[in-house]
């Protein structure tokens, strides 16, 4: 029954039996709802990023004056490639799970997971490179982050780049949020893979693999979108 038909039903007419219970899978519906939430989150970050870039809300005349282009470590390209490959591996795992091919499923899952972890380590290494280049999140050891008592007035010297370039701050924030979402996928991957390696039945993990693979593809799209944003600057 189409949504329109469902919403234009006249329930006061003709009491009697009606449609059966929904036959779509519940976890799939739950995932779809969750993906809407994540889409909203990154959409809003995109808006904030673009508004910042165009100098929105700052005094007229200094449009974009504080927006400095951030460095784009070449490693980001490699990381993107790795994430893309891991999505391919996930697709292979989904197909193997549907076919019921245990050996293929096992190897595809291992490859997908390894590539996923490689992506995350790569992202951490990008952070490291940025820090090496002087783009800190917080600099001097012993700096009281909270600044209790005597509030620290010297952010300028402590965070020369973080305060100077919102692009870097956005980069840290967005990669962190994306990485955390990916970690959620890794947790499901760990659960499914351990079951497969212990020789559990494929039927038991089929849905997990299917949905986690979808989630992974989605996060790949999110990453490509965000990477495009970074390249814009």
């Amino acid at each position: 029954m189409s949504l329109l038909a469902a919403l234009t039903e006249k329930p006061w007419l003709a009491p009697g039996p009606a449609g059966d219970r929904p036959d779509r899978s519940t976890p799939a519906t739950g995932l779809a709802v969750f993906l809407c939430v994540v889409t909203m989150l990154f959409l809003l970050l995109t808006m904030a990023y673009l508004m910042h870039m165009s100098g929105h809300g700052t005094a007229s005349g200094e449009t974009g004056g504080h927006w400095h282009s951030m460095p784009k470590p070449p490693l980001l390209w490699a990381n993107s490639g790795i994430l893309l490959l891991s999505s391919f591996a996930w697709q292979a795992a989904r197909r193997a799970a549907r076919r019921g091919d245990a050996a293929a499923l096992r190897s595809a899952l291992i490859v997908a997971g390894a590539l996923g972890l490689a992506f995350l380590s790569g992202q951490l290494f990008v952070w490291h490179q940025l820090r090496e280049a002087g783009y800190f999140l917080s600099s001097q050891p012993g700096f009281c982050l909270i600044g209790l008592g005597t509030p620290d007035r010297s952010f300028q010297t402590l965070h020369p780049f973080l305060t100077g370039s919102p692009a870097i701050a956005f980069f840290y924030l967005i990669t962190a949020l994306h990485g955390l979402h990916l970690l959620g996928g890794v947790a499901v991957w760990g659960h499914a893979t351990s079951q497969v390696l212990r020789g559990g039945s494929i039927a038991a993990v089929r849905q997990q693999v299917d949905l986690c693979g979808l989630y992974w593809h989605f996060l790949l799209l999110v990453w490509l979108w965000m990477f495009g944003l970074f390249l814009l600057t």
């Binding site: 009491p15 009606a18 059966d20 700052t58 917080s138 952010f155």
Partner: protein
Amino acid sequence: MATVTLADDMRPLHHPKTFIGKYIWSQDHKVIAIQYSLTAISIGVVALVLSALMRLQLGFPGTFSFIQPDHYLQYVTMHGMIMVVYLLTALLLGGFGNYLIPLMVGARDMVFPFVNMLSYWVYLLSVLVLVSGFFVPGGPAGSGWTLYPPQAILDGTPGHQWGIITMLVSLAIFIVAFTMGGLNYVTTVLQARTKGMTLMRMPCSVWGIFVASIMGLLAFPALFVAAIMMLLDRIAGTSFFMPSIVSMGQQTGYQGGSPILFQHLFWFFGHPEVYIVALPAFGIVSDLISVHARKNIFGYRMMVWAIIVIGALSFFVWAHHMYVSGMNPYFGFFFATSTLIIAIPTAIKVYNWLLTLYRGNIHLRVPMLFAIGFLFTFIHGGLSGLFLGNVSVDLPLSDTFFVVGHFHMVMGVSPILVIFGAIYHWYPKITGRMWNDMLGKIHFWITFLGVYAIYLPMHYLGILGVPRRYYALGPTAFIPPSAHLANEGITIAALIVFVAQGLFFFNMIWSFFRGPKADPNPWGAASLEWQTPDTPPKHGNWGPRLPTVYRWAYDYSVPGAAQDFIPQNVPPGDADRHHPT
């Protein structure tokens, strides 16, 4: 933990045996609903006490030396945030949503019970983090509940040391909790309806909660992003929202951030939030009015469509909270127009409630009194909203008590009256006992008349120009002595209403132990939650077999039927003829 699978429902159902499994780490939606409700009401009482303290200061400035200007601002901030987010949102969705959705759509539980349990415990954590703000150095945040930067994190704002941090962290945690709960509410409505329960056979309560949950899932990310970014501004020295600014004579290190960006993010959440609170209330009040007027809800489809349309439109009106931010006048025109358009579906709902009452067999029981009280306060609050929705009228009124009167009437008092009505209405089902009718009626009349005594004069104060958020007015030329008199009167009324809530709590607690046993369906309601085999419903809700639904939830006073209501799970037979409408 024993696991059984019931014949008609292939999902396994966990039956915990121990006290802790049943009542603490429970995955039963009813227990989680009660946990959510009790936590929300407890923190709501804290906010109520804060409002009483604020009124003491405003009514009798200078009398209470323990209320310092800093404290006053902190009371304002905490009162607002607690009431909107931690009480209303949590109680209407976490409390009523959890309790009513599975029972009203004929499910055994939420579709993800474990996530549901987690949602409550994470919510409790967010409340504890919020409360910890009272005990940190410098006290809780005092920047106003909207937390506008740059002042929220600069020196001179009370709570800028730690209070703002606990507030932002608590909000982020709350949003995680809400997302887990919201996923459950939406997916349960979509997936776990029993046989025969089409979308348009769901009671309005479920529709309101369902649409509000979707809105929450889409709107809360904006607050999440804003909270995280401001947190980074505060603790890591980023400049997402902080412009170059001189604070206390010293140049801060911030530069290039946009405070207006925060306002956009905040209100992109904040306006839908109004309807996240209002839509469940709309839905519930529709059911209360229909049941206690023994009449089907007038224009059921219009009611459902109006809920959906209001939900969608509410994402396009957020900047009407920002008319004074210096925005482009064309934007103001757009948002004023969209704001007035949203009044159309809202007015449809109001007319339909009135038309449901028209020639109904009205039983003025306590839940019905609260429902009718809601109609008054909501219409009044809505009408003053028409003033504030227009840019040119809003500009002079924006920073006055007119706004306080307006939003307390429309989204403070109105949902609270519905919540009281709903608690009285479903209490017999939840506890299996009946409350004291006389106490309930006294509670209603003091509360209803009291809120008018509190909020109606505020509109006049606002038109006089009395500013909001001020600790004390002092000798201000344009404020006449009568304004001070009105303030005293408001405070006295507020204290009476404050004390009268004791009647409610006494009634609920006393009746829980000593109240007479309740009939399983004391109001003669047709919707599914009153047709459970046990009262209160046991774990799994429906005994061995799920109910089958044959009709909508509003078959009241059907000509020819044996009773004046036909429950949703009664098959069409000879007892009832075709519904005449």
